[in-house]
Symmetry: C2
Subunit: 194 residues, 2 copies
DNA sequence: GTCTATAGGATGATAGAC
DNA sequence: GTCTATCATCCTATAGAC
């Protein structure tokens, strides 16, 4: 096989499913961008849905190295690591002129209801995202009784809802407002120094 | 014209765009559900995108009477009105066996990037939703300096992110966790009695 | 593993009679 | 305004040579 044909197909599909959505992105677009023929695609994947599964697995593999390691390397304070992750999402909004959409969130709404295989992998992506945030929150000195898992769910909620509104408004304002309130809330949970 | 042909087409499109998404719902499905012929649809709408615009206008017209008036009638306390609205979304998750998606949020991610006409109307729907929440928040006795508009944005963020995660997980847990944190935060903003 | 070619079906939209 | 009929295009997926 030519080096990385499968990987090139998956990379092209990731890009196109993100840009146009799963339904609107055609197999013809994927093979064109990957520089392969449709015969090659159907050699590696039995259907478009199988390609979607591979895309979601690739997102999960990329989650820690691409989404979490860079901001975690920049910041050492646990709580600031959380906000550094969110700052990167803000940067994605800016660099796309507010056209950024969370690829997992978009697929969650588009294909979650119609493909159970995809839905399970989307849920796994969300769980892994929450897990990385929860790990940081466990390092933070929060008031006793705070549940890091539940709080990480809240952080993901705020990211998804903020990105969605900012894309709709073509403005950073909704994202920034949401993050500011999240920060105020998290700061209220910091255990008082003693 | 037969009574309400246009309205029946819009109602069918609302339902189908919500169930399957804009791209996956076909014109043939819409006319079948509306019980009309494609000639009628193209008499009222010049394209599928024009139908989408009509759907988004219909959502905005329905927003106050369908989403806000029932919960606001049940609750008189301003802050509890906000949570009553959110409780209705929780009910939608339950009654759909966690298949509920916010129709505006779904369309925001799917068509926001490709149809500017739709994006503007989606933004208007979000703004109207925030406006109704902000009005309730203005009635609540919150600590001075609290911005009801910014806080309403946060409430919408939490609803959208919570619904998305609960649908992906097929469980109320992420939504409930998100609302619980939102409640804790809002309660911390209640002005102390004096 | 990759290629060309195309099957088989669904799609959005149109034509023109009534 | 509504009807039937259909165009033209697009789509996913397959067949079979190399």
């Amino acid at each position: 096989m030519a080096t990385g044909t499968r990987e090139r197909i998956v990379a092209a599909a990731m890009q196109l499913f993100w840009e146009r959505g799963y339904g609107e992105a055609g197999i013809a677009d994927v093979v064109a961008r990957a520089g392969v023929r449709s015969g090659s695609l159907y050699h590696f994947f039995e259907s478009k849905e199988s390609l979607l599964v591979a895309v979601l697995e690739a997102y999960q593999s990329a989650l820690i190295p691409h989404i979490f390691e860079p901001p975690f390397r920049r910041e050492r304070e646990p709580l600031e690591r959380v906000f550094a992750v969110l700052a990167d999402y803000r940067e994605r909004l800016l660099t796309t002129d507010f056209r950024y959409r969370c690829p997992i969130g978009s697929l969650a709404l588009e294909v979650g209801p119609v493909s159970e295989r995809a839905r399970v992998l989307i849920d796994a992506n969300f769980a892994a995202w929450r897990g990385a945030i929860a790990a940081a929150l466990r390092e933070a000195a929060l008031v006793p009784g705070t549940d890091p898992e539940s709080l990480a769910t809240f952080v993901l909620t705020v990211m998804e809802g903020g990105v969605m509104q900012s894309a709709a408004q073509r403005s950073a304002a909704p994202f920034d407002a949401s993050i500011a309130h999240l920060r105020a809330y998290l700061m209220s949970l910091v255990a008082p120094a003693r």
